[in-house]
Symmetry: C2
Subunit: 247 residues, 2 copies
DNA sequence: GAGAGTCAGTTAGCGGCGTTAACGTATCTC
DNA sequence: GAGATACGTTAACGCCGCTAACTGACTCTC
């Protein structure tokens, strides 16, 4: 059986071809959420569930990758709103970064397969299209913009040293949050029983580290390529840290 | 043609069944390195290249996932040695952490598909076996041990505050390095033209952040679940950082 | 209202994949 | 030489993504 829909689908009227497109998207997204397995979201399975023949999918999506991309896009459209909603609960810029990060990682932990599709695929693969979520999409998207604005606010209040590159810090923070959450997803158990707690720790550390580095001037990055002046980094750092007041 | 080997393969002698197992592993690893695409490493392609029929693979590996796991294991066996070699060039514990991290990320950037297979796959997928590189394998492996020893050395010299949990810090540093490199692999262009530089930055920031946090006592983690005492975190932090001596 | 056009699908099929069942055959033991 | 058996082979199943070719229903024009 190619498809045996209980009620044999009223065919779309003349101008309503787009209706099926949306229906396919909804079904694919639902199937992905149910199975948490992108392999289970086959073109055939989606078509059957929609109640339509397999090749009909290709009338609305160029290939499977395009369909999955659309699903990711739909899912990620919610993420930025969630992050900004979370950040709105504080007025402190540094805390805003933290809240955004926590929301980001929680979202990923709650939508693992969607996150994997959007952020853990490598370009050039069979199941990955050229139109997929690229670096350009990330930088152009609202999330990156909101994040870098928050970083700029931190620069303004002096958490990051004046003159710091907000884009670089933004990317670094994103990388840290992504690393924590993707590691938790790929290697469950590594973070113990509270993955979100590890993610928060990594995020906070990344923020603090970026702040400290911006004021210290990155060690090992000061003397050109051949800086084998083996100073006692650990000793100096420890001395500085020991003399710190409690927060 | 199922396989047309130039010289029609001498069949293994009675006790030498294991020879083919190794040969398959070598071919699979080579194919992966050549194509940089796990999808190109099909059971059929490997078999043809070895000069053997497809089902013969299953005499030596339970399924495709098991074969890929074996490839990953073989590749990653080199990584720990590389990292320790790099760390041996310094006596400073904190610098040792940094060098290990850089070596780790460089290895991943140079062996992207192998790294992806080992660290960016999620369990429960079709191409992922239960025997795959798990959290337990990581913790039990030499790399994690060497890394946590180095973290302990940093605690001993006071870079991380006395009483810090070395395992937690180790996992956090690993997450940061993983995040930087996996983001560079999944979203090329995000790090600009020098992915390794971004990775190094993220690694250094993670280390500095963990150090600073260990002495500050994590802010936002001090007052129990309902710590809505909205102190001016950014202001306090900025004040502390501004008073820092130059390294 | 009859014919033309085209939108929105269908049926049939290709080549590839991972995997299994059933069958051969070279090699060693006695 | 006669089994026994380790080491493979041939054939096939059911999935997959994807394409070519066709058809029926609607709508527009004359």
């Amino acid at each position: 059986m190619t498809a045996a829909p209980a009620r044999p689908r009223r065919r779309a009227r003349r101008g309503e071809g787009e209706r099926l497109r949306d229906e396919i998207l909804v079904v694919a997204r639902g199937l992905l959420a149910e199975t948490n397995d992108a392999d289970a979201v086959s073109v055939r399975a989606v078509a059957e569930r929609v109640g339509v023949s397999t090749p009909s999918i290709y009338l609305h999506y160029a290939d499977k990758a395009a369909l999955l991309d659309a699903v990711c896009e739909a899912v990620f459209a919610d993420l930025d709103a969630l992050m900004e909603e979370a950040a709105a609960t504080t007025t402190d810029p540094f805390d805003g970064l933290r809240l955004r990060g926590i929301t980001y990682t929680r979202f990923a932990l709650e939508n693992p397969e969607q996150y994997r599709l959007a952020m853990m695929r490598m370009p050039g693969h069979l199941d990955s299209s050229p139109n997929a979520f690229t670096a350009d999409d990330i930088v152009a998207g609202p999330t990156h913009k909101h994040l870098s604005d928050a970083v700029q606010s931190c620069i303004d209040v002096g958490v990051f040293a004046p003159g710091s590159d907000p884009m670089l810090i933004t990317t670094g923070l994103w990388a840290a949050a992504h690393g924590a959450v993707s590691l938790c997803l790929a290697k469950p158990g590594l973070a113990g029983d509270d993955a979100l707690a590890l993610c928060e720790m990594v995020i906070v550390h990344a923020g603090l580290g970026a702040a400290l580095a911006s004021y210290l001037g990155d060690p090992n990055n000061d003397g050109g390529p051949d800086d084998d002046d083996h100073v006692d980094i650990s000793g100096q750092l420890a001395a500085i840290l020991r003399s710190l007041p409690q927060l």
